[in-house]
């Protein structure tokens, strides 16, 4: 269908008119952005479960509390996202061994725990080899683990494994453990195949199957496997209808697990899992502690959750809000009263302080710094690449990109960067990122506020693409208002949902989602729904 072209400039006007109504009836996004434009469906991808998805899926299958070894095949970040890396990575021979060992370990834990075993095994084996009992277990568990109905020969093979191992080991449970391990180390469990099928309603087009859609939705919105209701919607085919899909998406978004799903997106896009390895020189940063990285991640996720789900508010405010969540550790580091004696509490940062939003948090300030100092380059790159989706070239091989050491003539980072940028080969790229990083120099390498460096007052002013700023707060506001920020959120979420970056022929549909995001006051919950129910999310390309 041909979309109705609406000038982008009409969007603010529409918002202004809506704002005049004290209780506005929000115009449907299509009234502003028109119908979805045509797009070129991209070939399906084969995504491997990320480590977090592996954990959440095992928990969904067998219950919380199982010990899952941390050393599995590591996730790989591609185009800034593990979600995209999951589509282009395979499994090494070492990874195969780890998945195998882990599968047996999980199977043994499940069968050794009476409550887990009784939930899994609905029958009492009549003998060491009881094919019917093994079949009953695997016929229920198999489709959930592989997230689709099993073919009869697949089920037969699994039952055969259970029987053979039971006969060899002279123990029904040990035989069943082999079958469970086979399920859990299978590519059907570890990967998410989405070849799609011909779409009978759109001749010549392909769509994802109902079960593929169930997994696409649950891993996108919950970061875990489908629940029984979603499987049921796949089984009866309602998930392939527009109405049925919308109903499931609304249900998923209303579920508490949607918060986990959104947290997974935030963790991925802002690299928050790297906080597990946060390292700082303890001789320099006295606030460094073992739990700081985890606290920092929790703060960012709680703030995002509040904006997206509690307030259903403008997502751009994640960069500017003074409302936040702190524990005692972070409150001390930020030099504000702790809102709670135990765990996290909601609080509002002082208006007079310079700390606002994500870019005033340890999860950005410490993570995008070196172990012994700030890094204007890393902070600048994060803003350019992650928040604004602007590609930066890699430094030429062999080029010394390090910032000069502190001297009496160069007491502040601004001084040292200026010296660094005297080299034209450095300046070409660093002029693009370092001035942004200098805007955050009032925060040291762990995120403590400071006004001086080496007893010289810090100048945190600059300009971001023509917008002047005096300090980090003004810079954050400039980034939030930057024409590239909201579209970048949309673009990243689209890539996260699809497991790949937008391909050729998808620019219009990606922009269309961005327009809806703007019309809907930048509510991320709307965007999650918009993408999940969108045609591009349902349409499979032809495998290459």
């Amino acid at each position: 269908m041909t979309p109705v072209a609406v000038p982008y400039s009409a969007v603010p006007l529409a918002l202004l008119l809506l704002a005049c109504d004290p209780a506005p009836d929000r115009a449907a996004p299509e009234a502003v952005r028109g119908e979805a434009p045509a797009f070129t469906a991209q070939p399906p991808v084969l995504r491997r479960l990320t480590y977090a998805q592996y954990q959440s899926t095992v928990a969904a299958l067998f219950g919380e509390g199982l010990v899952i070894p941390a050393e599995l095949e590591p996730d790989t970040r591609v185009s800034g996202l593990y979600a995209v890396g999951a589509s282009v990575t395979s499994i090494s021979s070492l990874g195969v061994e780890r998945y195998e060992a882990d599968a047996f370990d999980i199977a043994e834990q499940v069968l050794a725990d009476e409550s887990r075993r009784s939930a899994l095994v609905p029958c009492t084996p009549a003998s060491t080899i009881d094919s019917d009992c093994a079949r009953a277990v695997l016929a229920d568990l198999g489709p959930r683990a592989w997230r689709r109905p099993l073919e009869s020969d697949e089920l037969d093979r699994l039952v055969g494994i259970a029987d053979t191992a039971a006969a060899t080991l002279d123990d029904f449970d040990q035989g069943l453990a082999y079958a469970l391990a086979a399920l859990l180390q299978s590519p059907h469990f570890l990967f998410r195949p989405e070849p799609g099928e011909d779409d009978p309603e759109r001749p010549g087009e392909r769509r994802y199957t109902a079960y593929e859609m169930a997994s696409r939705l649950s891993y996108f919105l919950w970061n875990t496997m489908p629940d029984a209701e979603l499987f049921a919607a796949a089984a009866d085919g309602s998930l392939l209808t527009t109405e049925g899909l919308a109903a499931q998406v609304d249900r998923l978004l209303a579920d508490e697990r949607a918060r986990e799903g959104m947290a997974a997106f935030i963790t991925d896009t802002w690299m928050l899992s790297d906080l597990d390895d946060l390292t700082k020189d303890p001789a320099i940063y006295t606030y460094m502690s073992d739990g700081l990285g985890a606290s920092a991640r929790q703060q960012t996720l709680l703030d995002a959750e509040a904006i997206v789900f509690d307030d259903d508010g403008d997502f751009r405010s994640i960069l500017t809000t003074r409302a936040t969540h702190l524990d005692r550790t972070l409150a001390a580091l930020y030099d504000v009263p702790a809102p709670a004696r135990e765990g996290f509490g909601a609080t509002t940062l002082p208006e007079s302080g310079g700390r606002r939003g994500l870019l005033g948090q340890v999860s950005f300030l410490a993570l995008q710094s070196h172990a012994t100092s700030t890094s204007v380059t890393r902070r600048g790159i994060f803003v350019r690449e992650v928040l604004l989706c602007q590609a930066l070239p890699s430094p030429p091989a062999g080029l010394n990109t390090s910032i000069p050491e502190t001297t009496e003539e160069t007491p502040t980072m601004r001084d040292r960067v200026a010296q660094h940028l005297e080299d034209p080969s450095c300046a070409a790229c660093h002029n693009y990122m370092d001035p942004i990083g200098l805007g955050f120099e009032n925060f040291d390498g762990i995120g403590r506020w400071r006004t001086t460096e080496n007893e010289v007052e810090i100048d945190a002013s600059g300009d971001l693409d023509g917008v002047d700023f005096d300090d980090a707060w003004a810079l954050s506001a400039a980034i939030a208002d930057h024409s590239a920020f909201a579209p970048c959120v949309n673009k990243t979420l689209y890539a996260y949902a699809q497991g790949r970056v937008g391909g050729e022929g998808e620019d219009d549909i990606v922009d269309w989602h961005a327009e809806g995001f703007a019309v809907e006051d930048y509510r991320l919950k709307f965007l999650l729904r918009d993408i999940a129910t969108g045609q591009a999310f349902r349409t499979a390309g032809v495998a290459e």
Partner: protein, 279 residues
């Protein structure tokens, strides 16, 4: 002078004919290190002129015990505990032991001496600043340097005595006040005890980056120290020695015990900014 102090308690004098009024939030600092101030061989010692007199040895004031002079040249400094140190060093009550116990109490959160300053409009000069001395309680977080981190939030310790002093002022960047009473746990000889510092004085000077340095001086009743020596597990010979030493070194009047019944002491501390929980 006393008239001025009384006036400040009701409607403190600003020195410019007005009365104390301030919308400034109170500022809380918590002590993170503390040590005894020992006079040097030249007779110089930090501290306070607690009795308002400049006493000389054998003179009519200060119980006939000579005062020290501060490094800045201020006369009349009362810190006679300093003179006991050579005697204590011959016993188990070494200065390092006393300071070590105090520091471990701070690090464990058992001794979080709190100074809450009210009405600070300027850290340069402010004629009317109140002080509340008490103790904080809560899990104390230590930095990688082993010291109490600044910016922490605590609860006031409901079991600790609180002293209010309304005669404080800030001059040239340093806050000072008198009339302070607080208790400092310590180990002297084999006895674990709490030193009751009475009629004390406090000075606090910001050092930047939420750090403060200061002094706490006051009189410890000699009867308290004597009773500790007599009742706790202290060698009787040492206890007798202590009694003799105390009787010769008491240099202050004690509000309850009478004339020349208290021993002056000065502690140097550094402190960090902190907060109270809101509820």
């Amino acid at each position: 002078m006393s008239w001025l102090l009384l006036a400040c308690a009701e409607a403190p004098d600003t020195g410019d004919g007005g009365t104390c009024s301030s919308s400034a939030d109170s500022e809380l600092v918590v002590v993170r290190t503390i040590e005894l101030v020992i006079a040097d061989d030249a007779g110089l010692s930090e501290g306070f002129n607690l009795d308002g007199a400049v006493s000389t040895s054998g003179g009519s004031s200060g119980c006939g015990i000579g005062d020290y002079v501060s490094p800045g040249g201020v006369e009349g400094i009362d810190n006679n505990f300093s003179r006991l140190v050579p005697t204590l060093e011959t016993t188990e009550a070494k200065v390092e032991t006393i300071e070590g116990l105090i520091q471990s109490a701070i690090d464990s959160g058992e001794l979080l001496i709190s100074f809450e300053l009210g009405g600070v409009d300027s850290w340069e000069n402010d004629e009317c600043v109140s002080l509340s001395v008490g103790q904080a309680t809560g899990d104390a977080m230590l930095g990688t340097d082993g010291l109490l981190l600044d910016g922490q939030t605590f609860d006031p310790d409901p079991g600790a005595p609180v002293t209010e002093a309304d005669d404080g002022r800030i001059s040239d960047g340093t806050f000072t006040t008198t009339g302070v009473a607080t208790d400092i746990p310590a180990q002297i000889l084999n006895a674990y005890l709490t030193l009751p510092i009475r009629s004390g004085a406090v000075s606090i000077t910001p050092q930047g980056d939420d750090l403060y340095a200061g002094f706490l001086g006051g009189g410890v009743p000699t009867s308290y120290l004597q009773s500790v020596a007599e009742t706790e597990n202290v060698d009787p010979v040492v206890a007798e020695l202590l009694g003799t030493v105390l009787s010769y070194n008491a240099d202050l009047d004690d509000p309850d015990e009478g004339e020349c019944k208290a021993l002056s002491m000065t502690l140097a501390f550094d402190a960090v900014g902190a907060y109270w929980y809101a509820d």
